[in-house]
Amino acid sequence: MAEPPSSRPKHPPSAKRPANEDAAESSFTLLLRARDGDTDARDLLLERYLPRLQRWAHGRLPNWARGSVDTGDLVQETMLQVFRKIEGFEPEHEGALIGYLHNALTNRIRDEIRRTQRRGGPAESLDERWPTLEPSPLESAIGEQALKNYEDALQRLKESDRQAIILRIELGLSVPEVAEALAKSSTAAAHMAISRALVRLTKEMAHGR
C-alpha cells in the first residue's frame, strides 16, 4: 500500500484517529477495513468526509429542494448506502472512494430534485407562491448550460483525472491532501496531476462537445 509522506497536513480536524496506528491511519486503511465490515472504520470515514461532502452538496442542491430535505441527512444516508454496497470494491486509493461517493451523491441529488419537482411541480406551485425558485448556488453562478458542459466533460475524463478535479476543485482538499488521497509520491506530483487534469478538462469542454 502506498503510504503518503508523513509531513503533509492531515484530514479535517474532526477526524479521530486510533492510537494504535502509527500517527495516523490513512483513509485508505480505513476504507479497506470498512469494506471488510468494520463499522468503527466506517464511522471514522464517515466522520472524516461527511462535513466536506455536506458542503459540497450545499452548492449542488437548489434552495427550494433544500427545504424539503436536510442536506446533512441526504449526504449521510447516501454515504451509508455506499458503505453497505462496498463489499468487493477494490480501490487503488481513497480518492477512488471519494470519486465513488461523488457519483453516488450526484445521482442522489438529481433524484431528490426530480422527486421534489414531482411533489410540487410548477402546476402546484402556482397555489403556494414559491419563495425560492432559484437554482443551486453553482448553477446560478455559472449557468445551467455551462454547468452541464462542465459535468459532461468531467464524466468523459479518465477516472484519475476526474478524481483529482473533484478532490481539489469541488471538495476543496488541499494539494497535500489530494496527494494522500490519490496516493501520489509527493505534493508536487499531485499538483502536476491536478494541473494536467485541468488542462484535459478544459480541452474536453472547449472541443469535446
Binding site: H58, E134, S140, A146, E170, L171, T202
Partner: protein, 608 residues
C-alpha cells in the same frame, strides 16, 4: 500562438487554479483572444472552484456547532472608520452589517464582500469602480452609497442604512398590491433606474428582494452587487448570468448583454409580481424559464387580474414584451406611461416620507376634507377614554345585533381607475344583553362595549381609528391578532374580532366628552399608511389596552394614499357626497364608493 506555447500557457493557468492563485481573467482573455474558447472553459472551472469554496464558507458560517467559534473569529469589530454593530444580512456577495461611521457619527449599512466571492484583482477593482460610480449618484429612490474601499483583502461598501421592509417581505405577509400602488412603486423605481442608467450602469438584478419600502413610504432600489458597467465590453459569461431567472429578460438567456431594456423588462416582471404574486414565466429551473421563453409561453396580466385598470395592464405588458424593441426604450418613457395612469397630483405624496396634515391641504376636495378633519381632531376631542378589549365570557354570547348590514351585489362596470365597492357598516353598543346600533351623536358610557358590523362587496382593507383627549390617534383595527385585512367580501364581520375563541369589544372604560371614530376602507392596500402601522410597537396579548397609538401624520398619510385613486369621487348614483366632518352614522344602508371610503362617527360620552 503556436501549439506548444498555447499548451504551456494553459498549463500555467491550470497550475494557478490548482494552487488557488487568483487569475486576472479579464486580462488573460483580452491578451489571448485566439484561445478564447479554451480560456473561457478554464475560467469556468475556476468559477466552479470558487463557488464551491464560497458555499463551503457559507455553510461553515451558518452551520451548527463546531463552526461557530471560527465564525466569531472572523466577524470583525471594525472596518476602517466604521464600528460594526451587528450582522443584519447575508447575501451571495458577502455579509451586511449595521455599523456606525465614527467620524460622521451616523449609522450606515456596511456590505463586506467575502474574499471567496471576489478573489481576483480585476473583479475587485471592478466592484470598487462600480461602487464609486454609484457613490456619485444621489437620488431619493436609489440607496445612497457613501464609499467603497478594499482593506486587508476585504472589499467593503458602506451605504445608507434603510429601515424598512423589502417588497418581497411585504408580499409574503400580505396579499398582492393594487394597480395604483404598483404603479406608484413602479414610477419611483423608474426614476431610480433612470438615475442608474444616467451614470452608465445597468442594475441587472431588479427584483422584489432588492427593493425596500422605507418606513415612511419611500421606495429604495438596493443591491448593486450584480450591477454592470455599460461601458465595459469584455464581460464574461458570468456577468450576463447574474440575476434571478424569473426576472431575466429572454434575450439574456441566449448570452445577450445586460441592457437598459433588460432592466425595464425586470421592472415589468416586478410590477406583474406585485399585483399577482406570480411571474410571467415560471419554472423551477433556469432551463425551464428559458424553454418557456423560447415557446413564448407565459402568463398574461389580463388573465390573472382582469379587475385591474386596463391601462395599467397595457403598460406592464409592454415592459415585458419578448422583443426588446417592443418595450419602453428608456426608464423615463416607462415612468411617463405609469404616471399617466395615476394622474398628476398623487405620487409626490407617497414618494416623500409621511406628509404632514398641514402640508397637503390645498389641492382638491380630498385635501380640503383633510384640512377639515384635521381641524376636527384638534377642536373636538377633549374626552378622556380608554379603549380596552375584553373578552366576552363564553356563556355571554353576543346576540345578533339589531342592525346587520345587508349586502346587495353590485354589478356595475368598474371604472378604469378604481373598482366600485359596496359598503355597509354599523356601530353597536353591547349593553344589558342588547346591542343597539349607534347613530351619529349616540350616547355611550363607561361599561359599554362597542363593536362594528361591517360588510363589503369586495375584499377591502379596513381601518378604525379613535382619537384620545390629546388629539392622538389610536388604531382600533386591525389588531395584531384575530381578524386581519383584507376582509373577505360577502359576509358580515364583527370587529374588532375574536381572540382565543371569544369575541372582542372596544370597551368604554372612562368618561369623556365626545368619542370620535374614523373608519376607512379601501380595496387597495394603502401602503404608506400600513408602513406607519408597521413601525408601531405591537401591543402584547394580555395587556388591557389593545389600541395602538398612531403618529400624528398617520391619518394624513392614509388620506393621501386614498387620494391616489384618480377620479375617486363618489359614484353619483350612490347619492353620496362626503360631508366632513359630519357624516351619517356610517351607512344608512348599503352604499357604493370607489377609492377610499371614509366615515366619521361621534358618540357623546358625558361625565355624569
Amino acid at each position: 500562438m503556436d501549439a506548444d506555447r498555447s499548451e504551456a500557457r494553459l498549463l500555467a493557468l491550470a497550475d494557478s487554479i490548482a494552487s488557488g492563485t487568483p487569475v486576472d481573467w479579464d486580462n488573460v482573455e483580452a491578451a489571448d483572444a485566439d484561445e478564447a474558447e479554451l480560456l473561457r472553459s478554464l475560467r469556468l472551472i475556476d468559477q466552479v472552484a470558487q463557488v464551491h469554496a464560497k458555499v463551503a464558507t457559507d455553510a461553515d458560517e451558518t452551520g451548527p456547532a463546531g463552526q461557530s467559534e471560527r465564525n466569531r473569529d472572523t466577524q470583525p469589530e471594525h472596518w476602517r472608520h466604521l464600528t460594526i454593530l451587528e450582522h443584519v444580512g447575508h447575501g451571495a456577495f458577502g455579509d451586511v452589517y449595521r455599523a456606525r461611521d465614527t467620524s460622521l457619527d451616523r449609522l450606515v449599512a456596511l456590505k463586506l464582500l467575502s474574499t471567496a466571492a471576489a478573489p481576483d484583482t480585476a473583479r475587485v477593482s471592478h466592484l470598487l469602480n462600480e461602487a464609486r460610480l454609484l457613490a456619485r449618484l444621489r437620488h431619493p429612490n436609489v440607496v445612497r452609497v457613501y464609499g467603497a474601499e478594499s482593506t486587508e483583502g476585504r472589499v467593503g461598501i458602506w451605504m445608507e442604512l434603510i429601515e424598512g421592509r423589502t417588497l418581497e417581505d411585504l408580499l409574503a405577509s400580505h396579499v398582492t398590491f393594487g394597480d395604483k400602488e404598483a404603479a406608484q412603486i413602479g414610477q419611483q423605481l423608474c426614476r431610480a433606474m433612470a438615475a442608474v442608467h444616467g451614470v452608465g450602469l445597468v442594475h441587472r438584478d431588479i427584483k422584489a428582494r432588492n427593493v425596500m419600502r422605507e418606513d415612511g413610504g419611500r421606495i429604495v432600489l438596493m443591491d448593486f452587487g450584480a450591477g454592470a458597467d455599460l461601458r465595459r465590453t469584455d464581460r464574461g459569461a458570468r456577468d450576463t448570468l447574474a440575476g434571478t431567472p424569473l426576472y431575466l429578460a429572454p434575450e439574456l438567456f441566449d448570452g445577450g448583454q445586460p441592457t437598459v431594456s433588460a432592466d425595464i423588462y425586470s421592472l415589468g416582471v416586478l410590477l406583474f409580481h406585485l399585483v399577482t404574486g406570480f411571474y410571467p414565466v415560471e419554472s423551477q429551473t433556469r432551463a425551464g424559464v428559458q424553454r418557456a421563453h423560447q415557446r413564448r409561453e407565459r402568463k398574461y396580466l389580463q388573465d390573472m387580474r382582469p379587475d385591474l385598470a386596463e391601462a395599467f395592464i397595457r403598460v406592464v405588458e409592454r415592459a415585458i414584451e419578448y422583443d426588446p424593441n417592443d418595450r419602453y426604450r428608456t426608464a423615463g418613457e416607462f415612468e411617463a406611461a405609469l404616471a399617466r395612469l395615476s394622474g398628476p397630483a398623487q405620487d409626490a405624496v407617497v414618494s416623500t416620507p409621511a406628509p404632514r396634515i398641514d402640508t397637503v391641504s390645498a389641492q382638491g376636495w380630498k385635501r380640503a376634507a383633510l384640512t377639515a378633519i384635521g381641524a376636527a381632531i384638534a377642536m373636538l376631542v377633549v374626552g378622556a377614554i380608554l379603549w380596552s378589549g375584553i373578552a366576552n365570557r363564553s356563556n355571554e354570547r353576543t346576540p345578533p345585533p339589531a342592525t346587520v348590514a345587508v349586502r346587495e351585489p353590485v354589478v356595475a362596470p368598474a371604472p378604469p381607475a378604481a373598482p366600485d365597492v359596496q359598503y355597509a357598516a354599523a356601530f353597536h353598543a353591547y349593553r344589558d344583553g342588547q346591542s343597539p346600533p349607534l347613530r351619529q351623536g349616540a350616547r355611550v358610557s363607561p361599561g359599554d362595549r362597542l363593536f362594528l358590523e361591517f360588510e363589503s362587496s369586495k375584499p377591502v382593507f379596513l381601518y378604525v381609528v379613535n382619537q384620545d383627549e390629546d388629539g392622538e390617534s389610536y388604531l382600533l383595527f386591525p389588531l395584531p391578532a384575530g381578524l386581519t385585512n383584507p376582509l373577505p367580501p360577502g359576509q358580515s364581520h364583527r370587529l374588532p374580532g375574536r381572540r382565543s375563541g371569544e369575541d372582542l369589544f372596544w370597551q368604554v372604560s372612562s368618561v369623556g366628552v365626545r368619542e370620535h371614530f374614523y373608519v376607512f376602507a379601501t380595496a387597495e392596500r394603502p401602503v404608506a399608511f400600513e408602513t406607519l402601522l408597521a413601525a408601531l410597537p405591537a401591543p402584547e396579548l394580555g395587556k388591557p389596552v389593545i389600541s395602538r397609538r398612531l403618529p400624528a401624520n398617520a391619518l394624513g398619510v392614509l388620506r393621501a394614499v386614498g387620494g391616489l385613486a384618480a377620479g375617486d369621487a363618489p359614484q353619483p348614483n350612490a347619492g353620496f357626497r362626503p360631508r366632513f366632518p359630519q357624516l351619517p352614522a356610517l351607512t344608512e344602508g348599503p352604499e357604493t364608493a370607489s377609492g377610499l371610503w371614509e366615515r366619521e362617527i361621534t358618540f357623546e360620552n358625558p361625565a355624569r
